[in-house]
Amino acid sequence: MTHEQVTSVIIKHLVRSIDELTPETVDVKKSMKDYGANSLDIVEVVSASMRELKVKVPRAELATITNIDGLATVLLRVWNEKQAAAPNGAG
């Protein structure tokens, strides 16, 4: 799993939550709020991304994230930690 792959998962779910947003126009240095996402939309996008990546990040840690790139970094770190902990690296 790469940072780009995790980012594309987040963007896929963000586009499904925000009207008239396309993947090409998303700047990962921006916050989801910059694209009009409300707090419910953000919960939905983060939940769907965690579900797809099969990782779980504590809410307190999620609260410190300020942009899409930061979310991708945290999700990838947790994904890597899970891989390292899994027997035979089977995730």
Binding site: R16, V43, S47
Partner: protein, 413 residues
């Protein structure tokens, strides 16, 4: 032969007062579009000071029961997170004031918004087990109201109400047949929203929404494990979700569509939700948060307002309780469901509520808060505009007359 078990009758008590969300938005300088379109709440139910979880429970069930029902009920379960006593259960007052025969097991249960569903599942198991005497019925009631939340960010999703569900074993359940064994449970300890004292409702709503969505995924995955692979769209003709606010049903339905179907675009998801879920919000929008009653309120709204509803249709039902425990189960619409819903007369009850101003609502909430867990209380009957005379006198509703040295005294209006 396996017994068929289901809901024979269902009735909801929406309180007697209501607060318009536009007025509350104006008072709190909050965007009304957020409340109507995102949260999907238009009004909320408010109780006068002489009602509590006991009176709502009784007032939900009393008009629904016949003498035959009172003689047949041998199990009463009341779910609540708004109980009036830490030892004496609401069910004991319910048993008394509903005039149910004395050989009736009764108790109160608590599991946040899951308690009503927990009660229905336990009652269903009892009726299906062969332990219940032939002809015995079970009454499950959820009764809850929000605690004082003036100016809190979650004030727009507060509410009150009680749902009474009469369950029995019969060849063909009238309102809804529970599909025995078709259920997936997901439990995960979390402190999301909670009531550490009878006067405090607190927590983190964002944590709760994450927990809700995780539990939905976990409970539905378990349902599939138990039932076998199903085509989500084809298998469920309708879907009902626990709604802390109506808008959550859209998020929940979307999550399942994205994981289990090819329906992923925002427009397609919205159209699918509008067809299979939106009718279930008819009453939720008018009553607000009803805690463990919400899925039953949603079922009533679905049956009453979905014009193309056909008996035998399968409904996927998701219940979530903070703390947490969740369940995804399925049921089939009964042959007399429309008639049962019509008899419940909920729209008439909602329309008969007295609209109150924000100032009146705030005064009531302060009075209730001060009265909660107090040693001596005499609810003011004349708090404004002769409400008691207008809405209660001669209508045979149970009301709290007074609390005297912690003893609660109820009477019929």
């Amino acid at each position: 032969m396996t017994r068929r078990v289901g809901i024979e009758k269902l009735r909801v008590y929406p309180t007697t007062l209501s607060l318009d969300m536009d007025a509350l938005c104006a008072a709190r300088d909050h965007d009304p579009a957020d409340v109507h379109d995102n949260l999907m709440v238009d009004r909320r139910a408010v109780n006068p000071p002489w009602e509590d979880a006991v009176t709502m429970a009784v007032n939900a069930a009393a008009p629904m029961l016949t003498d035959e029902d009172r003689a047949a009920i041998q199990l009463v379960i009341v779910g609540s997170e708004t109980s009036v006593d830490q030892e004496k259960p609401i069910s004991s007052w319910v048993h008394r004031y509903l005039g149910i025969q004395p050989h009736c097991r009764n108790f109160e249960i608590k599991h946040a918004c899951y308690s009503g569903t927990a009660g229905v599942q336990m009652a269903t198991s009892w009726l299906a087990s062969g332990q219940a005497p032939r002809g015995a019925k079970a009454l499950v009631i959820n009764s809850d109201q929000s605690l004082i939340a003036l100016g809190e960010p979650y004030e727009f999703v507060c509410g009150a109400g009680a749902a009474a569900v009469l369950l029995s074993s019969s060849p063909e359940p009238d309102f809804l047949e529970l599909e025995l064994g078709k259920s997936g449970v997901y439990a995960n300890e979390v402190t999301d929203v909670f009531r550490p004292t009878p006067r405090v409702e607190t927590g983190n709503s964002e944590t709760s929404l994450y927990s809700y969505l995780e539990a939905l995924a976990g409970a539905y995955a378990r349902y599939v494990d138990v039932v076998g692979e199903v085509d989500f769209d084809a298998f469920f003709q309708r879907n009902v979700y626990h709604v802390p606010f109506g808008g959550m049903s859209f998020r929940a339905h979307k999550a399942l569509l994205q994981e289990y179907t090819a329906i992923t675009s925002r427009a397609d998801v919205r159209a699918h939700w509008a067809r299979k879920v939106r009718p279930s919000l008819h009453y939720t929008r008018q009553i607000g948060g009803t805690y463990g009653s919400s899925t039953f309120l949603a079922l009533l709204g679905l049956v009453e307002t979905a014009e193309d509803l056909v008996s035998g249709e399968r409904v996927g039902i998701f219940a979530y309780g903070s703390g947490s425990c969740a369940e995804f189960y399925s049921a089939r619409i009964g042959a007399k469901a429309k008639a049962v819903a019509e008899a419940a007369g909920l729209q008439t009850l909602c329309d008969a509520r007295r609209p109150i101003s924000v100032a009146e609502y705030e005064a009531i909430e302060r009075e209730r808060d001060e009265a909660t867990a107090a040693r001596d209380v005499v609810p003011r009957r004349g708090c404004a505009a002769h409400w008691y005379e207008e809405l209660y006198a001669g209508k045979r509703r149970l009301v709290l007359q007074r609390v005297d040295g912690y003893y609660r005294h109820y009477e019929w209006s």
